[in-house]
């Protein structure tokens, strides 16, 4: 063999082996598709888009099989063109699926946030309302349960567990329904136009008397928790008050912890009372005795309970729980005590206006229930 022929043969061999070793690589889209599959799994593909996720996995399996077939061939004969096209469209599908899943999750989070905000607003409203009446056990108990359920729902949403979160929020809503029902039960008569008219009449008469006789009159508004002092029909002072556990109810008998409603008079001024200073009123009046007798007949009065008495406006603090009296802070009691005379009219009413914010809230609860 001549040197030239030898060189040519050597070159051909190098070219041949060079080409054989120049095996086309597995398309990079394969790694991307695998990474996408992991991302889809982590994003909750099987939960949020089960069919599409399974389809993606099946597509990936097919592509892998195609790669396997190509890899089984001698390097020179491998051709990844077809599988590359398959992987390319798979990656596009996967990326769009991942985007859809993330959008779905964001949407569900937005929906949850809205319902959580609505629940939180209802909770806030009920807590605010419950400050206005002391017979609030049922309301508070259910509101607390709703708060816990809402907190649980928020925890679940943070873990992207939207269905259990929706269930917990739904349970919270049920507790709030119960709380609102309880509040409506307590304050229902405050929405009765007939009852409101009766209270308005009592209040108007008392203020009219103050104007006509140039006298001092005390008007106690139970739902507003206010004692207003009138002189010559003009407001001279307004003070926050506290009532008994069932202060919003009309007193019927001894021990019911309710505050009487109607027109009363101060019968005694007590400068040194157990509760700082006190003004005793003439409960029961004739109307109270009449109501008591009627209630006894219909079995509304338990056991041997009497009609009760010793209802006072006294000091000791507006935050206290009285047994039916009207409680004021001592500094306010000093002023009220100054205005008071034996014989001063005390009008006690549930409410005087329908525009009251508390009643507006209760009306909302009633409409919902």
């Amino acid at each position: 063999m001549k040197p030239n022929t030898f060189s040519c043969a050597a070159c051909l061999l190098v070219l041949l082996f060079g080409n054989a070793c120049n095996t086309p690589p597995v398309p990079p889209e394969a790694a991307r598709a695998h990474a996408l599959e992991q991302d889809l799994w982590r994003a909750g593909g099987s939960l949020f888009a089960p069919e599409e996720y399974e389809k993606f996995k099946a597509g990936l399996k097919t592509a892998e099989a195609m790669i396997g077939e190509e890899e089984a061939k001698f390097g020179w004969f491998r051709d990844y063109k077809e599988v590359r096209a398959v992987l390319g469209s798979l990656v596009t599908e996967g990326e769009s699926l991942l985007e859809r899943i993330n959008e779905e999750k964001a949407g569900r989070e937005r929906t949850f946030t809205l319902s959580a905000e609505a629940l939180a607003a209802r909770i806030g409203s009920l807590i605010a309302i419950s400050q206005y009446f002391n017979e609030n056990e049922d309301v508070r108990k259910n509101v607390t349960q709703a708060e816990i359920k809402l907190a649980e729902a928020r925890r679940l949403v943070a873990k992207e567990q939207y269905d259990p979160a929706a269930k917990a929020a739904g349970d919270g809503g049920v507790f709030l329904d119960r709380a609102e029902e309880a509040a409506v039960r307590i304050l229902d008569r405050y929405l009765d136009p007939g009852q409101l008219e009766k209270w308005r009449r009592v209040a108007d008469e008392a203020v009219g008397e103050s104007r006509k006789k140039s006298s001092v009159v005390f008007l106690v508004n139970k739902v507003e928790r206010k004692l207003t002092v009138y002189k010559n029909g003009e407001v001279r002072g307004s003070f926050d008050i506290g009532l008994g556990k069932y202060g919003l109810a009309d007193k019927l008998y001894s021990g019911d912890d309710a505050t009487p409603e109607g027109r009363y008079h101060i019968v005694k001024k007590i400068p040194a009372s157990k509760y700082y200073k006190a003004l005793l009123i003439d409960y029961p009046n004739d109307a109270d005795l009449h109501d008591f007798a009627a209630a006894r007949k219909t079995g509304l009065v338990p056991g041997r309970a009497g009609v009760g008495g010793d209802i006072e406006i006294h000091g000791g603090g507006k935050d206290s729980l009285t047994r039916g009296c009207v409680g004021l802070d001592d500094k306010d009691m000093d002023k009220v005590f100054e205005w008071a005379r034996v014989g001063t009219t005390v009008a006690i009413v549930g409410a005087v206006g329908v525009e009251n914010t508390i009643l507006a809230e209760i009306r909302k609860f009633k409409d919902r229930t």
Partner: protein, 195 residues
């Protein structure tokens, strides 16, 4: 004699080749059954990452079997090795799973205990709190709040009983946090009286 030896060698060689060409069906079934078993034992909930890796490896092994199944000269050896590796991982996870579940359960039970302790503490505090003028109303409301929290406490036990340890832990933590807030409010009411 010489012919007989050649025939035996040929038959043996064919047998060896054919045996190597057979799909490892039994092994596939065994591995699949083991994966199903560990999944239903709670791996999907308490060892999701590990289970996902196992399922991925199983998928790759089955893919390799598919590829080999289409070839004339089938070579299932690497696929068998892959299946065996999956089987080993499943066995490892199966052995580790009870400890993983136990750890989550213990954490939930501990949180339940903490929630219970918080409830007891709040109840004691409410009992001892001075119910005089100025606090009675607040304390009565807080007692109602505590009753509400106490009512939901039973849900923790129900979750534990149904082996929903992650759910139980979440519930216990939520109840504990709410009770802690109530305790804070009781202390504030007491402080109001002392001022």
């Amino acid at each position: 004699m010489k012919h007989l030896t050649k025939t035996v060698v040929l038959v043996l060689a064919i047998a060896v080749v054919l045996t190597g060409c057979k799909q490892p069906t039994q092994l596939i079934n065994d591995v699949q059954a083991a994966v199903d078993k560990v999944t239903s034992a709670g791996a999907d909930k308490y060892a999701a990452e590990e289970l996902k890796a196992i399922n991925d490896d199983l998928g790759k092994a089955l893919g390799e079997i598919d590829v080999q199944g289409k070839k004339f000269f089938k070579k299932f050896g690497p696929a068998k090795d892959m299946l065996a590796a999956v089987q080993a991982k499943v066995a490892e996870l199966e052995a580790a799973l009870p400890a993983k579940i136990e750890a989550v359960k213990n954490a939930a039970v501990q949180l339940q205990g903490e929630a219970q302790a918080a409830l007891t503490e709040a109840a004691e505090l409410l009992k001892k709190a001075p119910k005089g003028k100025g606090t009675a109303k607040d304390l009565q409301a807080l007692q109602a709040d505590l009753t509400g929290a106490e009512t939901l406490f039973t849900e923790i036990q129900t979750a534990l009983d149904t082996q929903d340890y992650l759910g139980a832990a979440d519930k216990a933590k939520t109840v504990k946090d709410r009770v802690a807030a109530i305790t804070e409010q009781v202390n504030a009411a007491i402080a109001k009286v002392k001022r």
